[in-house]
Assembly symmetry: C2
Homo-oligomer: 107 residues x 2
Amino acid sequence: MQAMLKALAEPRRVAILELLSGGEMRAGAIAEHFETTRPAISEHLRVLEDAGLVTQRREGTRRIYAVRKESFAELRRFLDRFWDDGLTRLKDAAEEEARARRRPRPR
Amino acid sequence: MQAMLKALAEPRRVAILELLSGGEMRAGAIAEHFETTRPAISEHLRVLEDAGLVTQRREGTRRIYAVRKESFAELRRFLDRFWDDGLTRLKDAAEEEARARRRPRPR
DNA sequence: CGCCTATGTAAGCAGATGCCTACGCTTCTG
DNA sequence: CAGAAGCGTAGGCATCTGCTTACATAGGCG
């Protein structure tokens, strides 16, 4: 769990997850979205995978990465321990998000 | 938001939040729960406060810290962006809890 | 095979970070 | 006011971490 939190501490890794939330991608394609070098992204992907936040599969010479969604459920459960009336606010958040979904520009 | 994630990357700070989830505490009392020195804890508390994860108030010469619960709601909303069916589950959990809450809640 | 493509790995460097000791600043208390 | 109590701050050090430039590895293709 701490590995997940450490992995999320790096903005670049969060950006990678945002990219992957749109669907799986291969390593090179991910790297092209950033100003940094490919090896740097490769390192980040390894950290994300070790933390269980992404999964990886090989396809020939390519490596396809995808968000491991269950990990976010685990994170949710973990964070709720610090939040005694969390379920009340959970409701609020859900309804607000649901409204935001229905309208493209809520604010 | 990234500040919150960075703050949570440190195990000691998570431990402090766990302590505070049981109720507010003064700085010295928090430090006594760890093997490390008081200034180290003071630093951690500053990081947690800057990140918005805890609040602080003064009481004479003492400083009382408490978890800022809304921050965990913010974290939840943030993390749900990576979890495409997260909103569905969020909504289900909220509605279930809303039904349970129609009865008076203990305090 | 020989070479190209797609990626991970290694070594080294610079900046960030956590911890420690020493010290400074408020707020009580007598 | 003087001293103590309760905490934050400063400076220094060791470690961690992310980035870059080579280099290694593995599969695909002629």
